[in-house]
Amino acid sequence: MTRHPKLSLFVSALALTLAAPAVAQDTAPPAATTEPSAPTTTDPATPASPAETSPPASSESSVPDASSAGDSAASETPTAPETATPADAAATDTAETPTTPADTPEADATAEDATPSAETAEEAPADTATETAPPSAGQTTVAPEGEAMPTAETAPTGTGDSAAAETPQSMARNAAPQPEVGTDWPFYGGDAHALRYSPLDQITRDNVGQLERAFVYRTGDMPSEAAAGKYAPETTPLKVGDALLMCSAMNILISIDAATGEENWRYDPQVSDDAIPYSASCRGVSIYTDPDAAADAPCATRVIEATLDARLVAVDTATGEVCADFGENGEVDLWDGIGERVPGWYAVTAPPAIVRGIVVTGAQVKDGQAEDAPSGVVRGYDAVTGELAWAWDLGAPEANKDGPPEGETYTRGTPNMWTAATGDEELGYVYLPMGNSSVDYYGSNRSEQENEYSTSLVAIDVTTGDPVWTFQTVHRDVWDYDLGSQVSLIDFPADDGPVPAIVLPSKQGDIYILNRETGESLFPVGSIEAPTVGSVEPDYLSGEQPVSEYHTLRKADLTERDMWGFTPIDQMVCRILFKQANYAGFFTPPSTDRPWIQFPGYNGGSDWGSVAIDPERGVIIANYNNIPNHNRLLTREQADERGLRPINEQSPGESGGSNAEGAGDPQAGSPYAIDVNAGWRAPGTGVPCTRPPYGGIRAIDLKTGETLWDTPLGTARRNGPFGIPSYLPFKIGTPNNGGSVVTAGGLVFIAAATDNLFRAIDIETGETVWEDLLPAGGQANPMAYEVDGRQYILIAPGGHHFMETPIGDYVIAYALPQN
């Protein structure tokens, strides 16, 4: 793993010298030689390389772990010449770093890496600057440039040029400095790294008690009769300049004044009710500033959203006017290449990621309908023109890269990405938390590619559209354990210095820390033997499954004594059900002879609310669910008896809404349909069959993965048997949906639970220090921003049909009283 220091120095020097001519003159080559600190690297990055998910990665062969190597390494090599300034190539050659062709792409990856770090170093506070600077992990070829560049001080111009040479045919642009979180909240996840952290500290545990509503805005987007029982807006606005930018449940784009809540403009893309897949949700929007446009040109900065009816829409942030240069009159049709338009089958609910000028989006393919379902293809579009840059169709990566041939579609039924991806402007990667194949609970007829990529985090190089590495959290997923959380990018505080890393939470509750460049886990990945009891396809199942040895939010397997109820009788009924079901612990496979218990259920662990990370304190805040599902595969005959039909055989808008996801999904084309009792409620009373807490929130030491505190999230006030609110003010820990924001003031703000309370928690102790009763369910991620020196905390309580909280159209900002 260690690199020879002298050699490394030599290589970096050589690289720089060679690079110099190709680069602007002011790139002082001497700087490189003054770069004594560089060759320190002992590559801490992959100290403990995961047992099975990745091969015992010798640092030399760095890049993609074996699982993805074949295809990505091969496909990437061609990019090298593009990117490579001659220097790069030379460096790689001379670099002794022998090994595989995989090196080449790696080399250019870090050349890119260097770019932003140098740039951000200029203007960005330590936080970001340090991120890329340190010599990173397991890199061989990489390190020389990686180290050399930052020391070269002058890099910005230099790298700018070299990067420009980078991609003659790629639509991707140069790495650009990213807007910062603080006064603004420019990304769905706060900053570009999706930390859900605000450096604002005006509101503290000492004064939070005085917090009051600064304004309440209502979007006016409430369900029509047809959409009743299908709303779950889940919206988090952006704050840019003086305005908050958001989308409503049905994708109406809205700008309001961030201090007063007065509406600036709105643009309604006219999404029809029948486009609602499972829920009408729009978690957020993204912005992009065209580096080539004059600041006052129309759409110089644009809001881009992806809609339920699968369009990308771009409007001017200042005026709400459609960006005529984007796609066709401001729109790109994502149905293109997907196949027959069945409203609600293919919908986008997450904000797109924008990396190096490429808008990356997947889509929610409504679960459980049919084998022959819309593709899970993930596509990149030019953020200015809306032109397709690439398509990553995991079933036909090369053939469909520029879209499928006329009359054909992207590979049908493949795993999709419905949640928010995270862009890595420095590396030019986008990290895709992939879901499972369209038929979640049966796998025997999946393709090898589906098996390879489902429920994995996949890094795609946006300059090429090719996968770089993949990290799978469930092998052969037959549990709907989609990766639902947006990953966060951090500098992991390793013993030998910070390592650019990714925090990846999963629905099983495992939290992984991965090297950003290689996808290797920084901590050991354990392996557990998976049960096969009752399985309808034991030969398909994976005999072992990965678990994180860094941290897991998952509680111990259920036992009979975990059964609950309000009286001994419903408790006894649940015990009987428990004993009757197939259950052999975590990863008990689907069965049809009798029901099986899935714990944790598909709501997590961690779902789309993701985790928040305080980089200063080094603390991860994770809220989680702790609820099982009680499921059963239905034979085709049983499914027919129940009249289960896929969405394309129903009338528009017929499906979706009140039912739990999977409560009777046909899985047409597979031998079995699926019936899910989400949250496993007792028949009759509706009381959960397992004991509380059903959800909690936890603080985790980022460096060690140790729990700092852990407490149930949510009171019992709105829960009770037969759906009757108990008004009990006791903490019980309810199911929750939505995440938190952490502020430098030492507070965690979160609603998420089903008690409709918005609360501030002391990050040091886990104690709730303030709360406010919301007019609707708080199933949305809150955010923080500042206007004229006043800090605001904002949440958009919109409720959630499945969480059974009141639906609303509110946007509520809180602040301390003025004077």
Partner: protein, 129 residues
């Protein structure tokens, strides 16, 4: 005549309340025995069948208005507390289904005690008559 008076007294509100309580407790007992035996056949907990039997005995004794109903029920209740602690310790939410309903029943049984033993006395009176 005295025995008639006793009979009248015993068919007042108190009598019907105790009978209703006996009926409720008896019904719960039967359900718990049924489910509890089923659970035992599934290799589950024996508590429910045993507690159900205790409730059924309590119900019969209540119907016969014997003070022993209270003692049997106290035994069930104390046994329940011990079992509940053994299963889940001081996890208060987990205690809810185990302890709340049995304790509510205990309150009703205690309320019924003034009406218990009447029949016994009535019998005593009857003998000399």
């Amino acid at each position: 005549m005295s025995n008639i008076r006793v009979a009248q007294r015993s068919h007042g509100v108190g009598h019907w309340a105790v009978m209703l309580l006996a009926l409720v407790i008896g019904a719960l007992g039967v359900v718990l025995i049924g489910g509890g035996v089923w659970l035992i056949t599934l290799e589950g907990s024996w508590y429910y069948a045993i507690a159900g039997a205790g409730l059924l005995i309590t119900a019969i004794l209540l119907a016969r208005r014997q003070m022993a109903a209270l003692y049997v029920y106290l035994l069930v209740w104390i046994g329940t507390l011990g079992w509940a602690y053994w299963e889940v310790g001081f996890d208060w939410w987990a205690q809810v289904p185990r302890v709340v309903a049995p304790t509510v029943l205990l309150i009703f049984v205690l309320l019924a005690t003034p009406a218990l033993g009447n029949r016994y006395r009535a019998t005593v009176h009857e003998v000399p008559a």
